[in-house]
Symmetry: C2
Subunit: 123 residues, 2 copies
Amino acid sequence: MEYANFGEFISTKRIEKKITLREMADRLGISAPFLTDVEKDRRNPFDMEKLTQLADILQLSKEENDQMLNLAGKKRNAVAPDLPGYIMNRDYVSAALRAARDLDAGEEEWNRFVEELKNRKKG
Amino acid sequence: MEYANFGEFISTKRIEKKITLREMADRLGISAPFLTDVEKDRRNPFDMEKLTQLADILQLSKEENDQMLNLAGKKRNAVAPDLPGYIMNRDYVSAALRAARDLDAGEEEWNRFVEELKNRKKG
DNA sequence: ACTGGCGTTAGCCGGTAAGCGAACGAGCGC
DNA sequence: GCGCTCGTTCGCTTACCGGCTAACGCCAGT
């Protein structure tokens, strides 16, 4: 499924699960007005803590969760909020990203990297 | 060289180059008090535009520049500010980062990725 | 002793974001 | 018609952050 933004995503998922807006707000520990604003894309997505709760409440699959995180990042015009923690303080990751950027690595090259990782970890 | 934080880095480099604080502030288009605060690590590092100017003023090598960007990121508790632009809107990069995280990829694996990239682009 | 440059301090301002309570309008069951 | 639930709007408070001006204390030179 395609979603225009983070708010639309969580709104759709919430309604699918037949959860009321006020109930979800309660479960997240926020007010209903705040939640409706986020769903309507008038506020920024939540912080990671609430995003984690959200994934639990909405029972998201890993794919859906990744999608949600990406949408959360895009609205903030930043990287998905689960990634900085991994990149930060791993200077070799930063260095690799710069190398990939400077060498114009494309999608296939990144995918090949992932495949090799999987093979190596499995074998 | 090791630097405790971004401010210490730019302060050290500035003094090495025998540039006065007020002069550097002028060149960056900011006030001297603001600059001193940043050097003393009491304010956040600059935005990318000023970081680029800074690299030019201080005549940083690529390695020094990367180091500066990493330090700028750490102070903000975020990824180095040159990277989000590359990661964002490249969902395959986000996906690869998550895969690497979940598979516990180590430094050697990331470095191998970079080496392969270099070989492929060169050959 | 005076000046001038240097880094620094203190305090202020404007913008933006998180988050809330009060109150509202629409729909529905009785 | 009444009352309830639901989503929503309005306006407010609080906090942080970028950036500034004014003014300070410290030397070095004259």
